[in-house]
């Protein structure tokens, strides 16, 4: 989409960033020791930690990704909310207190405290690093998506900007600053999301969502045989046709502008529906709806086709209550835009055509996850795999685990987890309204679902847009900071201890190594954030959850609850879980698509590996523990 930056947005954004940097500088004096740097000295009050937990967890994936996915795929996006939240139950009831009782800095410390075996520390450190990097990618992608409409910069500038700010925060101040950044941002995110939802409900739904919303044109055509041969409206000349599956697209030319239309053929006549296109010409010129970017002919979309309230068709509902809003959408019809990509006469074309979708389809699973129409056993398995990853992945994420060490006691770990669940649960209910609000309010950027929530805010005024976007940016800052602290802790504590076995590493050296690691991991995240531009951030986070659930979760759970677990069993389990999940991800249909290969050629047709890699990791741990335990005895 074509964005115009505003001064107000720039000022509010700058204020938030300056505040974040100010907090970092203020706390930098309190993080000289490794205990202060990596675990905030274990002194954070549970109330602050609980909100910081929420601030940490409600990352770009939750705010930008889930809202964007609901805006595009309806209820299927909300399934991410449910999975993310349900994962906290595992964290609260099974992991939080037992792990806190072991009282260490990192996940590797906790594992090692039971076995004192150097391989555990190295393997757990590597796993933490891998999960953190995978979790960092979507945050960086989200940052890049945000700065374009906010400040007018290209995607890569946002990614580099976030990377630089976060490296500064983490390299100067450590966990305490990170905690307070997450605390402030978490609180602001929930409050302003509530304001946005109240605005959505107050507005209700309308077939004309905004005053300047684009009026979609329909043309009538004549069909000869099965080909559209002429258009009744004067001035349009047919210059091409492309068919894909049951879809036929017609290219026309009028006053020197070429446009594509979705042809709905019915016997000898056809209705041509307007589409949106981005055309990359053979000479690299990019045209938006057939015109250069400066013509601003590429517009935001998303509207109601038909609104039914209490059995009657209306054009505008006025304000609606929270339940009535969902009920109204369910009874009505929405126009969504589905993408088709193809090459035509040397041009590379991305085309979005109108798709009228009933509310009942939107409000149940099936539009993204193939569990209903067109489903196969593999597509159902893919969905179950994702839900498994979300359910078991949360409690094994390094930046979640590290938060149990920043509070003084197990009781505080528990209370802060419950506060986090309450805040996160409330926020996830709001995502339902923000996502569907974006779907029907004429704000969607068809090129990137990630910007749905901030663009929805823009339809309620520039101030709300500026604040929401700045908070979203702070969201990325907070989460990325937490991840980089966790990753640098893994390198400085776990991998170094294992590599320099027997040699004493001083406290200050550890902090220096941690800071160098933070800069390195931040650099890697910047590069990957640029490479993965355009992918939905929630989808990307699903991978991080899957690796965490496969590599870390079996090790933690078996260490806590199975007495026959051995050190070698833990090492083998982390290795197998991590490697198997990585292999499946790297060979997945989505990655093949990213490599420019045909997605249907994937060796294993799963986009999420958890359903294979979690059981494999458990099985490895049990078998290796039984073998090595027997030898020992």
């Amino acid at each position: 989409m074509i964005y115009t930056p505003s001064i107000l947005a720039t000022i509010i954004f700058s204020l938030i960033v300056i505040t974040v940097l100010g907090i970092s500088v203020y706390f930098s004096r309190q993080s000289a020791s490794s205990k202060g740097y990596f675990a905030a000295g274990g002194t954070i009050p549970w109330t602050v930690n609980g909100v910081a937990f929420a601030g940490d967890y409600l990352s770009a994936a939750s705010f930008l990704g889930i809202c964007g996915m609901i805006a595009v795929a309806g209820y299927d996006g909300f399934l991410y909310s449910i999975g993310y939240l349900a994962g906290w139950i595992v964290a609260l009831f099974v992991i939080a207190e037992p792990l806190k009782r072991l009282g260490k800095y990192t996940f590797a410390d906790a594992l090692d405290s039971k076995f004192n075996y150097p391989g555990i520390r190295l393997m757990a450190g590597i796993s933490t690093l891998v999960v953190s990097v995978f979790y960092l990618i979507p945050q960086m992608v989200g940052a890049g998506a945000l700065v374009t409409p906010l400040l007018g910069f290209p995607h890569y500038v946002g990614v580099i900007g976030v990377g630089a700010i976060v490296i500064f925060i983490v390299a100067t101040a450590g966990m305490k600053a990170t905690t307070y950044v997450q605390f402030i941002k978490g609180a602001l995110l929930i409050v302003f999301s509530l304001v946005l939802v109240i605005s959505i409900l107050n507005k209700g739904v309308s077939t004309h969502p905004t005053d300047d919303y684009h009026e979609f044109i329909r043309l009538d055509g004549t069909v000869t045989g099965s080909v559209v041969t002429s258009i009744e409206t004067s001035g349009y000349v047919i210059t091409g046709e492309y068919s894909s599956g049951d879809k036929t697209f017609i290219r026309t030319e009028k006053e020197g502008v070429e446009r594509w239309w979705d042809a709905q053929i019915d016997g000898v006549s056809a209705t041509l529906l307007e589409t949106l296109t981005v055309t990359q010409k053979a000479d690299s010129e990019i045209l938006y709806n057939g015109e250069p970017k400066e013509a601003e002919a590429f517009y935001p979309v998303g509207h109601m086709n038909k609104i039914i309230v209490d059995g009657e068709e209306v054009e505008d509902t006025g304000a609606l209550g929270p339940f009535k809003y969902i009920e109204t959408l369910e009874d009505s019809e929405v126009v969504r835009f589905s993408k088709t990509s193809f090459s035509y006469e040397g041009d590379s074309i991305s085309l979005w055509s109108q798709e009228i979708t009933s509310g009942s389809e939107l409000m149940r699973p099936g539009l993204k996850f193939k569990v209903d129409k067109g489903s196969t056993p593999l597509s159902k398995m893919n969905f179950v795999s994702l839900m498994l990853a979300l359910f078991f992945g949360t409690s094994a994420l390094p930046h979640v685990l590290i938060r149990y060490y920043t509070v003084p006691s197990p009781k505080d770990a528990r209370k802060s987890t419950i506060l986090a669940i309450t805040a996160i649960g409330f926020f996830y209910i709001l995502t339902m309204y923000i996502g569907f609000g974006a779907m029907v309010n004429g704000v969607l950027d068809v090129q990137s679902s990630n910007m749905s929530a901030p663009l929805l805010a823009k339809s309620f005024g520039l101030f709300l847009f500026s604040v929401i976007s700045a908070i979203a940016f702070a969201t990325v800052l907070g989460t990325v900071s937490g991840l980089i602290v966790a990753a640098s802790g893994a390198v400085a504590h776990d991998m170094m201890s294992s590599l320099f076995k027997g040699k004493e590493i001083s406290d200050s050296t550890r902090v220096v190594i941690g800071k160098i690691s933070a800069i390195t991991v931040g650099g890697i995240a910047i590069v990957l954030g640029i490479l993965f531009k355009g992918m939905n951030v929630s989808f990307l986070v699903g991978w991080a959850f899957a690796i965490a659930a496969s590599a870390n979760f079996p090790a933690i759970i078996m260490m806590l609850f199975w007495k026959r677990t051995t050190a070698k069993g833990i090492v083998a389990s982390i290795f197998v879980g991590m490697v198997s999940s990585l292999i499946i991800i790297l060979l997945s249909p989505s990655m093949l698509d990213k490599y420019g290969m045909a997605a249907d050629k994937a060796l294993i047709g799963l986009d999420n590996p958890a359903i294979i890699s979690i059981p494999l990791s458990f099985l490895t741990l049990i078998v290796v523990s039984l073998i090595t335990g027997k030898r020992k005895s």
Binding site: A39, G42, L92, F93, E97, I326, M363, K415, G425, I429
Partner: protein, 99 residues
Amino acid sequence: MDHGPAVKVTEDSVVSEYKTRVGLRFFAIYGIIFVGFVGINTFFPKLMMVRVVFGLNLAVTYGFFLILTAIVMGLIYNALCTKKELEFENASTEAEAHS
């Protein structure tokens, strides 16, 4: 190499075992509800269209229910654990007073 605890933690093993036991039971209950949700979505997705309450269908109602149940169960779990911890603390204080 062990870096030692970030903070010192002392707690009676009876209290810890009680909390673990309650936690695992709560996890089992929530796990069953969650498996039911995933199962219906996967194998009976059309069932999710059925209107349940306040004009909402089963998909939305079940989703909201899972979120609210997580919060409510968390609060109950905290209340039970806090009660047990207080009992232990009071018993410890009394024992110290008698000695």
